[in-house]
Symmetry: C2
Subunit: 92 residues, 2 copies
């Protein structure tokens, strides 16, 4: 199997059990979280996790691991690298 | 391995690799699919898969398995059993 040296190519795997436990790898940062929304940066784009009673059970940025528990309703990816965010668009 | 008699109690597990391959169990039906949207019924509610270039690689309703490939952007659950759908609301 070929390995990529670039950090952006870190594999991003996601496993969810019964919409209650969500484990993932390839996480570089968690921007914000509360009971209804967790905003994480992954090697495959920004990921917004929506639900109710959400809490972070495990966060280990050293190995890129994040585990979220709660009632999960939606997972949405945004490719932030494409437009560079608000300031990226403003100052180009 | 214990088997559940009730279809609604079937475990629903979801595994996604790099936003490209999405495997899941606990699927009871696929309502519709095209390149941008797959609508599946799972034991944990209705699941809408959004993305680009989506295609179904495997569908086995006998064992509740569904595999979707493509560029996956979002997964959204809707708890259809709560309101019983359009006709359920109309004729109650």
């Amino acid at each position: 199997m070929e390995r990529n040296d670039k950090q952006t190519a870190t594999p991003h795997q996601l496993i969810m059990q019964n919409r209650q436990v969500l484990e993932m790898t390839g996480v570089s940062d968690v921007d914000s979280f509360d009971e209804t929304t967790v905003l994480a940066y992954t090697s495959m784009g920004r990921l917004t996790i929506r639900g109710g009673g959400l809490h972070i059970k495990r966060l280990d940025l050293e190995c890129g691991a994040l585990t979220v528990e709660g009632n999960i309703c939606a997972l949405e990816y945004t490719d932030t690298h494409k437009n560079g965010g608000f300031f990226g668009r403003l100052f180009r």
